[in-house]
């Protein structure tokens, strides 16, 4: 009993932190650009596929973990500059529609190039096998994933709360005119945020690609989970996204112990309750005057 709870806790934390990587980008992009990025799951998936290619070609997981997210960042830059930028002055519903179309395109491209069968990123010997955590034998790789994503989220957190860039990002989310008045190019900030979110999603893709199967459905699979997190945390709130991701990770892990079939349903019910009770999310801004 204790063992399965401990195992579920570790698993939930790991899942939560990797989901936080994805949700963080999604929520930052919404907060700054006012765009609900349906293509975010596709970027995560691209990270995983780039990872399989690089790891397969050069035999190095580490190189994949370094390069694949940067490649995803490039794709993100292309998406932002070529398709989102001309649409900022339109109704936000068009952003949903556009990124949905891009997500479909990326999924199609992946099937076209790599086929529909599932793959995996080979993990280095250093990270294979299991290690004893108290009474539980836990895979080393999962601990590694937990560690890396926690450190990354910690860095991003500090960057957003402390650095000039983070403060700037928060400022232009609320007042783009003021930022322009300061002589800062808002459109560069927008591109930067989108690319940054894409890189985080790419990292999550490589990390999870080592433990889960990499397949063309994974992008649309994860996006709903990420949305739930972002909505519960409060659209646009980084802190909220991290807390909500941990919550969802743990609920999923514990749920798997109690009632696996109902866990997903429970997540939707949670989201619906939050949206109805406090549409701005648990950590979102309060109702404005």
């Amino acid at each position: 009993m204790v063992e399965s709870v401990l195992r579920a806790t570790l698993l939930g934390l790991q899942l939560g932190m990797t989901l936080a990587l994805i949700a963080a980008g999604l929520t930052l992009i919404f907060g700054m650009l006012d765009v609900i990025n349906f293509a975010h799951g596709a970027l995560y998936m691209l990270g995983a596929y780039f990872g399989t290619v690089i790891a397969g070609q050069f035999g190095s997981f580490w190189l994949a973990l370094l390069l694949a997210p940067l490649m995803v960042g490039l794709v993100g830059a292309a998406i932002e500059i070529l398709s989102l930028r001309p649409l900022y002055d339109r109704n936000p519903l068009y952003h949903i529609l556009l990124t949905f179309g891009i997500a479909i395109m990326i999924q199609g491209a992946i099937i076209q190039i790599w086929g529909a069968q599932s793959r995996q990123i080979p993990i280095p010997d250093l990270l294979s096998g299991t290690v004893a955590v108290g009474p539980v034998n836990y895979p080393v790789y999962w601990l590694f994933v937990l560690g890396v994503s926690t450190v990354l989220i910690g860095i991003v957190w500090l960057a957003i709360e402390r650095s000039d860039l983070g403060i700037l990002m928060q400022a232009s989310a609320h007042d783009t005119e003021m930022v322009s008045a300061l002589g800062i190019d808002v459109s560069k900030v927008f591109t930067g945020v989108f690319v940054f979110g894409a890189i985080l999603a790419g990292i999550a893709g490589v990390l999870l690609g080592g433990s889960r199967s990499v397949h063309p459905g994974m992008g649309f699979g994860i996006i709903i989970e990420a949305f739930i997190i972002v909505v519960i945390g409060g659209l646009g709130s980084f802190r909220g996204a991290v807390y909500a991701a941990l919550l969802i990770g743990l609920v999923t892990a514990y749920g798997a112990l109690i009632a696996p079939t109902l866990t997903e349903l429970f997540l939707f019910i949670m989201m619906a309750i939050v949206l109805m009770a406090k549409p701005s999310g648990l950590f979102g801004a309060t109702e404005a005057a």
Partner: protein
């Protein structure tokens, strides 16, 4: 429509309070927008609410029309509490507002803008309201034409609202509110941004409307306020600073300081 307009109902006679607020307070987070305001609006008269920008005038309208719920206090219309009712329920009881920023259906014709408002008195959720053609209902169209006549827009009835001149749009704005058949009409800056001639027209219009509707105005033009009002309420920083007829308000030193004398109008 005129047959349905009754200036005062049986239980409220002229000069009795048709609308009354008691200690109404509205807070947004830590900001107190309206602070313990108690006023009485006499039936059949014109009451103006004045005060510097940010004094809470529009917030008060929002409370009276159900857009916001008061944090504290009581709002009574014809001796019944209406605090916390939904906007449509308040309109049903006879309180209607017009907006400071013209707030209509830009793509629709002037006539259709008003017809959507008059339609509310004839349709609801009965089967016919889903199946028949909206234009097959004669009464809302007739009412709408009458309203357009009242606000002098008959000539442009079929032009789309977006193509009207600024003055015409302001008239349409008032027309839409009139079409909702108010007993009490709250008008938010009806003359804002108008030329002297246009202002003059609107003042005539307001006087005509006041013959059978109780009016509350938010207005910045002090000449108009003094000319039209029977009662004036002065708001400052969310509080009721002063209350009385135009002579009393002119004589009130606090008002002079806060508003009339201190830098004039915005």
């Amino acid at each position: 429509m005129s047959e349905t307009v009754t200036a005062t109902s049986s239980d409220i006679s002229k000069n009795d309070a048709i609308l009354r607020t008691e200690g109404v307070t509205k807070k947004f987070g830590t900001l107190t927008a309206i602070d313990d305001v108690s006023i009485e609006i006499p039936a059949g008269e014109i009451t103006s609410i004045i005060g510097p920008n940010g004094a809470g005038k529009t917030t008060l309208f929002n409370l009276l029309t159900g857009k916001h719920e008061p944090t504290e206090g009581r709002i009574e219309f014809r001796n019944e509490s209406i605090g916390g009712l939904a906007p449509h329920a308040i309109v049903d009881r006879g309180i209607v507002r017009s907006f400071q920023i013209t707030n209509f259906f830009a793509d629709l014709s002037a006539l259709e803008n008003v017809r959507i408002a008059t339609q509310a008195h004839y349709t609801g959720f009965s089967p016919g309201d889903f199946t028949r053609h909206h234009a097959s209902l004669e009464e809302p169209i007739e009412d709408a034409r009458e309203v357009l006549e009242r606000v002098h827009l008959t000539d442009v009835a079929h032009q789309s609202a977006a193509n009207l001149s600024y003055g015409q749009r302001r008239h349409l704005e008032i027309g839409i509110a009139l079409a909702a058949d108010p007993e009490l009409l709250l008008m938010d800056e009806p003359t804002a941004g108008m030329s002297p001639e246009e202002t003059h027209e609107v003042v005539d219009l307001i006087e005509a409307i006041a013959e059978d509707v109780t009016l509350v105005l938010i207005e910045h033009n002090t000449d108009i306020v003094m000319e039209l009002s029977d009662q004036i309420a002065v708001l400052n920083e969310g509080e009721l600073l002063s209350w009385g007829n135009p002579e009393e308000i002119k004589a009130d030193e606090r008002v002079q300081e806060a508003y009339l004398g201190g830098g004039g109008r915005e």
